[in-house]
């Protein structure tokens, strides 16, 4: 069978299961007695095993199988959940992830699983050794007096006694269950007197490929044969009528005992099955290739562009009939946009999920005691943002754990709770999603930042404390005295900022020395279609995302003042620095002395952008600039207006 067609699905579901495993095992460490969790973990490992086996990835199947053995011990209370075992299980997950990602990347690198397999085996062995499966030789049937009695009675009542010999096919798996199926089938047409090996031995798989059952029935030989053969994986069945039952030898166990044991076994199964019941909810969904969604989004974008063009034409020619229809079309396209936007949204949970494990590992490595809190993981963001935001968050959380939270002794000395808190929060704020990382650690040392700034030749005179703190986002800026594996190499914060800016977002830092720091990331909910203000600078039309705009005011050129060699305006008692768009974008400003100031807010910063005139508000579709124009940092992209004009969209975050 060609399996390649299933590969994508296999990979996706495997990652999902690995993620669940990571979370649940983390949870198990906290609540070692939680049976539901153990069962959930077992189930995920089991699913993984099944899928890997089907795909022919025998290494993965083997490893998950070993994991199951360990988990089974938890389930049966044969093994205590210790952090040692948890660490080995985590190592397993890492190995599995590596194997799966190798498959994804088409890499032929073979991950060595021997060591981890041995570790797992040692856990299993530590408590009790593997059950030894004794294969009993099949002796001849031995009926005791009691059995013989039953047989005799059966004859008297006109029933027949058959000896059914069954042989399973060679590669039959789950032989016991297979034999049990035969047993059950025969039981449905009569009464079973005896089996060889005994039913308990059959249940414990203490037999090879053959077994025999003596059954009392009123059915014909052929009927019984047919019924057994209707079970799959049966190689041969032989049904013999027993006539001479006298010269049989006694055996210790009688049938009563067997049924008692059988009952007990059934009880056991029931109990373990009860635990199986699971509480996790699954919701109905369809998996769609992200490429198709991108295409969908793009098409809706095109539709919006052409709708605006049509509107313009209808306006120019004053076509009332057309106008009405267009309004209708307008409403539908808006709905369509909303819909496709929502389809592309995913809960940020997907990204947050991996952090508890990361924080745990880091805290252990650094010998710190940290409580990690996640809130608002259900907040939804565009798929593209979700895919990209993980990396910067990893950086920030690592920083918080490594530099933010102090070592336990230091915290005690300062009179703080020895357990540090790192909190990751997401929520929606207007058309922005906000992600916050708060820690109650040491906070930023302003003097240290100033010193560092001086050594880099940055003048901090006249800068607000807040601006100084934001210097940490500059390239090569690290105030950490020592470079560790985890963070502090000074590459990072600038990369974090650049990444977030490329997603149309902003990052700010708020910190109080000694008390902790907070990083606040604001991201647009969606990337492709935005409301924008169209402005004119000289003869050029530009678009500014409405998301950044606080207000627009009218000023005379005389009202623009100079302080510290920088242009500012006074507005309602506050001083707002201004940026002349014409200067920054190398355009020619008009001579008009009446100007407009578009006041934009980027995080905590407020800046006025000076433009010549306003053109109106419009929904625009952001089109990327393509490779050749990628170096233009001042623009986020371009759009096509109703009249077919291509207009550049200003990257506000890059300008202020």
């Amino acid at each position: 069978m060609d399996m390649s067609q299933y590969l994508d699905m296999f990979l996706e579901e495997s990652y999902e299961n690995l993620q669940n495993l990571n979370e649940d095992i983390l949870g198990l460490e906290k609540n070692p007695e939680d049976k539901d969790l153990i069962n959930a973990i077992f189930r995920a490992a089991h699913t993984l095993k099944g899928m890997a086996g089907s795909m022919g990835f025998s290494d993965i199947a083997e490893l998950t199988h070993k994991m199951e053995n360990v988990l089974d011990k938890f389930r049966n209370d044969e093994l205590k959940v210790t952090s040692e075992v948890i660490t080995i299980l985590f190592r397993c997950l890492d190995t599995l992830e590596k194997m799966i990602s190798n498959i994804q990347n088409g890499s032929n690198e073979i991950v060595d699983i021997n060591e981890i397999m041995l570790q797992l085996q040692s856990i299993v062995d530590s408590k009790n050794s593997d059950k030894h499966v004794e294969k009993k030789n099949l002796d001849d049937f031995k009926l005791n007096e009691y059995d013989i009695n039953i047989v005799k009675q059966a004859y008297e009542k006109g029933y027949k006694v058959y000896k059914v010999d069954v042989e399973l096919i060679k590669d039959c798996v789950l032989k016991s269950a297979r034999a049990f199926l035969v047993y059950k089938t025969l039981e449905s047409i009569g009464e079973i007197v005896k089996s060889s090996p005994s039913i308990e031995d059959i249940e414990q798989e203490k037999f090879d490929l053959t077994f025999s059952i003596v059954v009392i029935s009123d059915k014909q030989k052929e009927t019984i044969e047919g019924m057994v053969l209707a079970i799959s994986e049966i190689k041969k069945v032989n049904v013999d009528l027993i006539e001479n039952v006298k010269n049989e030898i006694k055996e210790n166990e009688d049938k009563k005992d067997q049924t008692a044991v059988e009952k007990a076994a059934a009880e056991n199964i029931k109990n373990s099955k009860e635990d199986e019941k699971n509480t996790k909810k699954t919701h109905q969904s369809v998996r769609v290739d992200i490429e198709r969604l991108d295409k969908f989004m793009n098409l809706v974008g095109e539709l919006v562009i052409h709708r605006t063009r049509l509107e313009q034409i209808s306006n120019n020619h004053r076509l009332n009939d057309l106008h009405e229809t267009l309004e209708q079309v307008g409403r539908i396209t808006t709905d369509l946009q909303d819909l496709v936007m929502k389809v592309r949204m995913l809960p940020i949970e997907r990204v947050f999920n991996r952090f508890p494990r990361m924080v745990r590992d880091l805290a252990q490595e650094l010998n710190k005691d940290i409580e990690f809190i996640i809130e608002g993981e259900e907040t939804e963001l565009d798929r593209t943002v979700i895919d990209e935001i993980g990396e910067p968050l990893v950086h920030l959380i690592r920083n918080a754990v490594d530099h933010g939270i102090e070592p336990v002794e230091e915290r005690i000395k300062k009179g703080k709770n020895p357990k540090g808190v790192v909190k990751l929060t997401a929520y929606q704020e207007g058309n922005k999603a906000v992600i916050r990382i708060d820690d109650d650690g040491n906070g930023f040392n302003l003097d240290k930042i100033k010193k560092k700034a001086q050594s880099l030749g940055i003048d901090t005179e006249g800068m607000s404390n807040n601006d100084i703190k934001n210097l940490i986002f500059l390239q090569g800026f690290s105030t950490s005295d020592k470079v560790t594996d985890i963070s502090g190499r000074g590459v990072g914060m600038d990369v974090v900022k650049t990444k977030i800016a490329s997603l149309g977002g902003t990052i700010d830092v708020v910190s109080e020395f000694g008390k902790g720091s907070s990083f606040i990331i604001r991201l647009p909910l969606t990337l492709s279609i935005i409301q924008a203000l169209l402005v004119k600078v000289g003869s050029e039309t530009l678009a500014i995302s409405l998301g950044f705009i606080d207000r627009v005011i009218n000023v005379n050129i005389n009202e623009i003042k100079l302080t510290n060699n920088k242009e500012v305006i006074m507005y309602r008692g506050s001083i707002i620095p201004v940026v002349r768009l014409a200067d920054r974008l190398n355009l020619v400003e008009s001579d008009n002395s009446e100007k407009y100031v578009v006041i934009v807010k980027v995080g905590e910063k407020t800046v006025g952008l000076i433009v010549d005139s306003l053109f109106g508000q419009q929904e625009i579709v952001i089109k990327s600039m393509g490779k050749t124009l990628q170096s233009l940092k001042e623009y986020v992209g371009a759009t096509i207006l109703g009249d077919g004009l291509v207009t550049l969209i200003v990257d506000v975050a890059a300008l202020v």
């Binding site: 089907s54 049990f180 059950k184």
Partner: protein, 119 residues
């Protein structure tokens, strides 16, 4: 054309089974990701055969077998099990499952089991 209801929590597994069955002339009555949905679909679609995974969220395969058997004592259900689930397969058989197949699936085994339960 006999109709088969496929029950498994992994979409991947459902897809595989579906491919095997459709290629061999079976009709798919429906797919369910858990026992609860399986029981519901059994009622509405009345399939000829059900392939039933054991470990599933919401309601596991064994409970689903019991409930389906309660609705239709003649229901033909084939358990889909993995190695190491012997005890659960037996429980399912006790509850009325007609046969079982073991993952990783071999198409010929799947087809054999289905053909046999259909008689």
């Amino acid at each position: 054309m006999p109709k088969v209801l496929i029950v498994d929590d992994a979409a991947f597994m459902r897809m595989m089974l579906k491919d095997i069955l459709v290629k061999n002339g079976y009709e798919i009555a429906g797919e369910a990701p858990n026992g609860l949905k399986a029981v519901e679909l059994y009622k509405s679609e009345n399939p000829d055969v059900v392939t039933m995974d054991i470990t599933m969220p919401e309601m596991d395969g064994i409970q689903a077998v019991k409930e389906i058997k309660a609705i239709d004592p003649n229901a033909r259900i084939i358990m889909c099990s993995a190695m190491g689930q012997q005890a659960m397969v037996m429980e399912a058989i006790k509850s009325g499952a007609k046969d079982f197949i073991v993952k990783p699936f071999q198409p010929e085994r799947v087809l054999e089991a289905i053909k046999k339960v259909l008689g």
